[in-house]
């Protein structure tokens, strides 16, 4: 019988039963528009504001500093475009990194077309930026720095505290995409001026996220309309999904169990000949495993595993619309083959040691099978 092993939590997570029940409960019973003046509107408004408080408490900030959006991409767009467009009279230079998520990179590319200048910081072989490099690159025209907290492909967790100190000393606003690190490692609102988080990486629903915005910051909204979310994000609030987000935030975490499983998996895969760990051993997201396998390509590995009931992903070319490999691994290693041969395994509380054993066994078979037909492996 085909197994069903899900190791792609970094792409999206399994929705917890408590979350889906809560969403249904709210959808069935609390249908009012929070802006309506009648009691049904009040019911919705109460759930909305309770959810806001729960999310705010998790970041140790005031509820007024949390804006709900449709997800991480929207929050990132709002933070970067919203800040840049509102503050372009103060400067037109933005700093980010080469290992950001596509929504940050493409937002920056769009701003470049609008006359902004963007610096993309290099990273070392483990994916860390250089604090010295960041400090050097900030100039009088710099208005915003955006650096991903926990990298979605290779798990590198940047030293946000030190990064924020540098930005504060140079009076530059710091934004961070914390979608992967939220609820997996300590995140406090004090670590940046704007923080993006979302629900679907933490066993919540897709379609909802939030942006923490320090109260000293002004943004240009992306969506104009009825003025909801402090006029920063108009549109009738998606109360059921927001309630689901809040429920997900309240779920019990067991990050140390996941971390143990991650370390166990890394040790086992390291035994495979020609397997190279991507990303650091320390300061790594508790659920992230990423390896490149010599002589064979990422998409073919993914498909073969999928046919065996195992879900993982790759930053490789062929699996996306472009023909390039993982831009993150390229930035770290400047190795085209390595960037094509990578596989990401991202764990969650639902995975077990037995599943990992099974996956490693099947992975071995897949790797051997594909290497047999690879022109890159010289037969001795």
């Amino acid at each position: 019988m085909k197994r069903n092993i899900y190791l792609d939590t970094a792409a999206t997570s399994i929705v917890d039963e408590k979350v889906s029940s809560r969403i249904k409960e709210v959808m069935d019973n609390i249908h009012g528009n929070p802006s309506s003046l009648h009691y049904k509107g009040d019911e919705s408004k109460n759930i909305l504001e309770d959810s806001r408080k729960t999310v705010a408490d998790s970041l140790k900030c005031n509820p007024e500093d949390i804006i709900f959006t449709s997800g991480g991409s929207e929050s990132n767009n709002l933070a970067i475009k919203g800040y840049a467009l509102k503050n372009k009279d103060k400067g037109k230079h933005i700093i980010t990194t080469k290992i950001e998520h596509d929504c940050i990179l493409n937002t920056c590319k769009w701003l470049e077309k609008k006359g902004f200048e963007v610096t993309y910081l290099d990273v070392d072989k483990e994916g860390f930026i250089s604090l010295e490099d960041l400090s050097d690159k900030i100039n009088e025209d710099t208005i915003l720095v955006s650096i991903i907290h926990g990298n979605n492909e290779v798990g590198t967790i940047q030293e946000m505290g030190k990064i924020h100190d540098i930005c504060k000393s140079k009076k530059v606003i710091l934004h961070t995409d914390a979608c992967q690190s939220f609820m997996k490692t300590e995140i406090k609102s004090s670590m940046a001026d704007m923080i993006t988080i979302n629900a679907h990486k933490i066993h919540g629903p897709k379609g909802v996220g939030a942006l923490y915005i320090n109260d000293s910051i002004n943004l240009e909204p992306l969506i104009h309309g009825g003025g909801q979310e402090r006029k920063l994000r108009s549109g009738t609030e998606n109360v059921p999904l927001i309630a689901g987000f809040s429920e997900a935030v309240s779920l019990k975490q067991n990050t140390s169990k996941i971390e143990d499983l991650r370390d166990y998996m890394i040790l086992k895969i390291k035994d495979i000949h020609g397997a190279k760990l991507n990303g650091p051993s320390e300061n790594r997201l508790c659920n992230n495993v990423n390896f490149s396998f010599d002589y064979i390509e990422g998409e073919s590995i993914i498909y073969d595993l999928s046919l065996k009931g195992i879900c993982v992903s790759t930053g490789s070319a062929c699996s996306s619309k472009s023909l390039e490999g993982s831009h993150v691994i390229m930035a770290m290693h400047d190795d085209v083959e390595r960037s094509h041969n990578s596989v990401r395994f991202s764990l969650s509380k639902y995975n077990t040691k037995e599943e990992i054993d099974y996956v490693v066994k099947e992975l071995n078979e897949t790797v051997n099978k594909l290497r047999k037909i690879s022109p890159l492996l010289k037969e001795v």
Binding site: Y295, I296, E297, G298, E299, S300, Y303, D304, L307, S316, A317, C318, S319, K321, L323, E324, G325, V336, E337, H340, K372, I373, S374, P375, L376, E379
Partner: protein, 122 residues
């Protein structure tokens, strides 16, 4: 993304391997786009008696080279060189994602190189 015919070829590529004492070998591809194909051929009386491949690449790359080998085996050399990417795509069910059609072109190019190699030794 892929139909059953492509998946079947990917899971069981019958033409994968290397010919012992080949008459021609051609390698084509580009690490940058993540596909490298190596085709070896056995020629007898101007006919491709046998043809095998090794491919580094995605599911479509592996399936395309396997399909090309099936289409070319037993053909006269010039007939084999005329097998087009559309023939390969058709033999794989026709509904290959557009971003993957280039894999069939790469496979053809590897075959051309193998034939060139054979002709140069002639």
């Amino acid at each position: 993304m892929y139909n059953d015919k492509i998946i079947k070829r990917f899971q069981n590529p019958v033409n994968a391997g290397e010919i012992e004492n080949p008459d021609g070998v051609g390698k084509y591809g580009n690490p940058k786009c993540g596909d490298i194909m190596k085709i070896s051929i056995k020629v007898k009386d101007g006919i491709l008696e046998d043809i095998k491949f090794k491919t580094y690449g995605c599911v479509a790359a592996i399936a395309s080279t396997d399909a090309l080998c099936d289409l070319c085996k037993g053909k006269k050399i010039d007939e084999a060189l005329n097998v087009s990417k559309d023939d390969v795509v058709k033999s794989m069910g026709g509904d290959v994602p557009s971003v993957k059609v280039h894999c069939s072109i790469l496979a053809q190019n590897a075959l051309k190189k193998a034939v060139d190699d054979y002709r140069n030794e002639d």
